[in-house]
Each structure stands twice: as C-alpha cells, then as structure tokens.
C-alpha cells in the first residue's frame, strides 16, 4: 500500500510540476537573470551590466522644486517608464477605491431584499465574460470625439461645451480608461462581495439596528468585519490584476497605446517586442518586469499584514 501510494503521488504530481517548472518557474528566474544584462535579442551577445538597467530606470536627471503642489517635478531619464508607473499605480489605488466603493454600494442595495437581484447581478457581471478587446473597442466608441455615445449624450443634455472634450486625448485618457475598466471590475467584485454579505446571518443586522446603529455604523462594524476573509482575497486579487493591466489600454485607441494611459506591462511589451518602435532591449524590458514583480510582492505583503486577523465563527 505504502509503495503504491508513493508511486501514485509521483505520477500524479510530476506532469504538472514538470510543466510548471520548465515553463513558468525557470523563465521567471531567467527574467531576473536577464535584467542584469543588455541584450538585443538577436545573436548570443549578452553584455553583463549589473544593476545598470535599474539605475537607468530609476534615474532622475533633475528635480524642479516649486512652491505649488506637488512641489517636486522630477525629470526622469526614462519618462515613459515613470509615466507607466504613475498610470499603473493610478489604476491600482484610484481604481481600487472606485471599484470597491461601487461594489459595496451595489451589494448593499442588492442584498437588501429587492426584487430582481439575480438579474441585476448577472447583467452587472456580464462584461467579465466578454473579451476585453471587444469591450475596449466599445468604450473607444463611447468616447469617440466625433460620433461617440458620450458626446451625443452630452449634446442631448445641451452640454455643448462638455461634449467637445477629447476623452481619449492626453488630458483625459487615463481617467476615461480607468472608468471603463472599473465598470468591468465592479461586476466581478460585486459578485464576490455580495456572496460574502449574504452569508452574514440576518440577526446580526437586526441586533445592530435594535442597538440603534445607523447604516454607516452597520457597514463599518458589522458588514466589514464579517466579510473580512472574502474582502481580503478580493482586494489582493484586485491589486495584482490592476498591476498587470495590459489588454484594455493597449487597444483603446486602436493603433497605438496612448502613453498617458500606458501601464508597466505595456511598457515591458513595447520595449521587449515592440513592433512599431523597435527598441529591442530585452535586459531593460526584463528589469521593468522585475520592478513589477517587486511591486506585486510589496502589495501582497502589505495587504497580508493589513488583513491579518483570526477568522470569525458564527455560533
């Protein structure tokens, strides 16, 4: 029996483990290694440059200090990289706030016993089953400055000045993209949060109401603590997803990713594989990837600390 068990474990585990090691773990390690080199990808010549790629990425040429907010205006050696960092972190933090606020509000509404809950949940979740590229084109169309849905809607409301806004232009494309992506993310997190909220026994809410708690207090002291476990998974998952964003902003304007909405993942792709701007600095691109990975790790560690707590059992 014991020998049979050993054999079974090995046979069952080996295929997945092998495939994973060769095509996932090893390449990840190779990226870390590659980030220390300068390599065009053609030919074998890789030059070891140590941490120079990282220095270049993080290099600040000069800092302008002015007395207005936000005080420091650094000029980076790689402006496009830092633009992508700004954009990525905007998606993570601002996107997180917007997404979870709306998801919470919607789950509160849907869990209050109104009719059609399943219908609303299904429709709001629906964007998550459609290809992101299709959704990106849809929103590209909504935001179109000449015949977009948003523009026509604003004209309908008589907002002629507002209708002239170039939603996909450099000034607004970041927020426009963020709003569109939040529209997708809210649906997903709504489903998670709703299922968690519905797990809470009704008497908890009743007891709180009897004690005279207003909706905000109920939310802070009853809802949040009791969905803590699911909430922590949802938040960490969101953070990682938002950090990895690539598909939506890459195609929102069709041909080229708008640099005001570009993410680190897009930057990594363009530097490594870019077809239109052949940069071909694979070591440099790998350095970008390593920085992304470090950010993910920081995010996970911080959130693990924040969310650490014992699980609650219902008596």
């Amino acid at each position: 029996m014991y020998k049979g068990r050993r054999l079974l474990i090995v046979t069952f585990l080996l295929p997945a483990l092998l495939m994973y090691t060769v095509f996932f773990v090893w390449p990840a390690l190779q990226s870390m290694h590659l980030s220390l080199f300068e390599w065009s990808g053609f030919g074998e010549a890789k030059t070891f440059v140590g941490l120079r790629n990282f220095e270049e990425l993080l290099d600040i040429i000069e800092i302008d200090v002015d007395n207005q907010f936000p005080f420091l205006h650094p000029t980076f050696r790689d402006q496009l990289f830092w633009l992508s960092v700004r954009n990525t972190l905007t998606y993570v933090f601002l996107g997180g706030v917007i997404t979870f606020s709306l998801a919470f509000v919607l789950s509160a509404m849907l869990s209050s016993g109104i009719r059609g809950k399943k219908f609303f949940r299904a429709v709001i979740f629906a964007p998550n089953v459609v290809a992101v590229i299709a959704l990106s084109q849809l929103w590209g169309r909504i935001y179109n400055p000449r015949h977009g849905l948003l523009r026509n809607f604003l004209l309908l409301l008589g907002q002629d000045e507002l209708a002239k806004t170039s939603w996909l232009g450099p000034d607004h494309v970041l927020m426009s993209t963020l709003v569109a992506m939040s529209w997708i993310w809210v649906g997903f997190n709504l489903v998670l949060l709703l299922s968690a909220v519905e797990q809470i026994p009704k008497d908890m809410f009743d007891a709180a109401k009897v004690d005279g708690a207003n909706p905000f207090q109920i939310f802070a002291y009853v809802t949040i603590p009791l969905i803590w476990d699911v909430l922590s998974i949802a938040v960490v998952n969101f953070g990682i997803t938002a950090l990895k964003v690539f598909e939506f902003p890459y195609v929102i304007k069709g041909l080229q990713a708008p640099k005001e909405a570009t993410t680190m993942a897009i930057r990594n792709y363009v530097v490594g594989f870019g077809r239109r701007d052949p940069i071909y600095r694979l070591g440099y691109a790998s350095a970008i990837a390593v920085i992304m990975q470090i950010l993910v790790i920081i995010l996970i560690v911080v959130f693990a600390r924040l969310f650490r707590r014992e699980t609650i059992e219902y008596s």
């Binding site: 029996m1 049979g4 068990r5 054999l7 079974l8 474990i9 069952f12 585990l13 295929p15 997945a16 495939m19 994973y20 060769v22 996932f24 390449p27 990226s31 590659l34 919607l106 509404m109 849907l110 209050s112 109104i114 009719r115 609303f120 299904a122 709001i124 979740f125 629906a126 964007p127 089953v129 459609v130 290809a131 992101v132 590229i133 299709a134 169309r141 909504i142 015949h147 849905l149 489903v191 709703l194 299922s195 968690a196 998974i233 990682i240 990895k244 690539f246 598909e247 069709g254 680190m264 993942a265 792709y269 490594g272 790998s286 970008i288 990837a289 992304m292 990975q293 993910v296 790790i297």
Partner: protein, 293 residues
C-alpha cells in the same frame, strides 16, 4: 359565495401591495437599474451601429439604421477570416482546458490529500505563480518556445495557456479537495480499492463541481485572451478569435471602416453573452464558492 370570482381580485391586490412595498424602497433600485440599463443599452447600441453605413454613424447616431448593412458583417468575417479564427479558438481553448484538468486534478489531489514532506511548499509554489506578472515570463518563454520549435504554433500557444493557468487552478482545486471528507477514501481503501481507484472512483466524482468551475473559468479566460496570442503567434491563419479582433482594430485604423469593426465586435460579443445567459448562475456560483472556501 362564488369562489371563482374571488381569485382575480386577490391576485391583483397581492401584486399591487407588492409593488407599493417596492416603491417605498425605490432609492435602492436606482443605481442597479441605471447600471443594468446602461449595460443592456451598450449591447443594443453596438449592434445597431454595426448595421449602419459609415456615414450614418455620424449623421444618424441615435436612430435605427436606414437599411441594415449586413455587408458589414460579411466584410468583417471575410477580411479577418473569422471562421478560421473561430475554429482556432475552439481548438486552442478546448485543448488548453483539457490539458489543465488532466495535469492539475491529479496534482492537486496528491498535494492536498497526502501530507507528505514538502507538500505544503509545493502547493505554495504553485499558488505563488498567481502573483507573477506575465511580463516576467514572456521574454524567456519566447526564447524557449523558439528553441523548442513551438513558436508561432497552436500547440505552443496551448502549452503556454495551460501553464499560466496552473496557479489559479491549483489554488481552487487544492482548496476544494481539502474540504472533502476522508471517510469515502478510507472506506474505499478498506474495501480493497487501489490508490488510483480511490482517486478515479471516489475523489474525482466528489471534486467534479470544482473541476467544472475551474473548467468554465479557464475556458472564458482563454477564449477571450489576446495578449499572449499577440506575443506568441504571428501566422494570420493561426489566430484565435480575440487576437483576430485585435488585428481588425489595427487594420480598421487605416480603412476607417468603423461599422465593420463593430460588426466584428458584435460577432465576438454575442456568442459569449448568449452562452453566459444560459450559464450565468453556474458561473457565478462557481466564483463565489471558490472565494468563500
């Protein structure tokens, strides 16, 4: 009293009182209703737009198309060879999901039902992959697939899709397996079942809800994916659907044929939504079950 004459009155009264009760809570309906209306309108709008001529897009944004331009659909279908793309998607997605299940179902079983030395570490290793951005993998993987001759091939893409799906799949499956009671296993062993038999006859049927969830989730993800296909496939004949749609968005910029672009978007969107309409309960249950465990 005439019993039959009473029933319609009672029903109407019930409906009216229910409606009045809901009206009191109308503030709770506003956001969900607006949101749902918006989503539904988007689908309608994009479908209507896809049936207009390119000039109508500017001149007649709100109304119905004068004459439905079904040629937009044939143009989109033919210019990007969407029939072929559909076939590619079926092959790639189906094979990937199958491969994922075949590799991960046994592996997760081995890791979560047998607490051997290092099983915890290996599980953590598998799951940790979820925190690895694709950016960390694509450059070395590109070199690796080239060396193996798998570059620009459907089997290569299938392999890559399968591998990147491992962390999430293992996360769900190991979680699922660990919730299953061990009495059935032990009973089967006492009855003389082989170890493999225990897996095949006892555990697999028990874990099948988890397998279905994972299969559906991976299917949807891979079917809709275009970024990895962008990196690893160049041959236009091998492109799956989402990747083909990306090709159309690029070429459309040159031709300015927006209406056909939307026809293509509809072609990609509608089947997903149709299948979703049938399966939505299942899918949502699966996600919530995975998160709650």
């Amino acid at each position: 009293m005439n019993q039959k004459a009473r029933t319609p009155n009672v029903k109407t009264r019930q409906l009216t009182s229910a409606l009045l009760k809901e009206l009191k809570r109308i503030h709770l309906y506003i956001l969900p209703v607006l949101w749902a209306l918006f989503n539904i309108y988007c689908v309608i709008w994009i479908t209507l737009t896809s049936l207009k001529t390119n000039r109508e897009l500017a001149t007649n944004p709100w109304g119905l198309p004068e004459a439905p331009q079904f040629e937009n659909y044939t143009r989109a279908w033919e210019s990007a060879n969407l029939g072929l793309a559909f076939r590619n998607s079926v092959i790639v997605t189906g094979a990937s999901v199958l491969l994922i299940l075949v590799f991960c179902a046994p592996a997760a079983y081995a890791l979560s039902r047998f607490k051997f030395k290092g099983s915890g570490w290996l599980t953590a290793l598998f799951i940790a992959g979820a925190g690895v951005p694709a950016a960390m993998l694509i450059i070395p993987l590109f070199g690796l697939t080239q060396n193996l001759g798998l570059n620009d091939s459907l089997p290569g893409l299938i392999l890559i899709y399968s591998v990147v799906s491992i962390p999430f799949t293992m996360f769900v499956l190991t979680g699922f397996y660990s919730t299953l009671p061990s009495e059935f296993e032990e009973a089967a062993r006492i009855d003389g079942c082989t170890e493999f038999g225990v897996f095949w006859r006892v555990m697999l049927p028990l874990v099948s809800p988890g397998l279905i969830t994972v299969a559906i989730f991976n299917f949807v993800t891979i079917w809709n994916e275009y970024a990895l296909a962008l990196v690893f496939l160049q041959d236009p004949e091998k492109l799956p659907l989402a990747r083909a749609l990306y090709g159309i968005t690029s070429s459309m910029q040159y031709t300015g044929d927006w209406a056909s672009l939307f026809a293509a978007v509809v072609i990609v969107m509608v089947p997903s939504l149709a299948v979703y309409a049938l399966l939505s309960e299942r899918l949502i249950e699966g996600i919530t079950a995975g998160a709650l465990k």
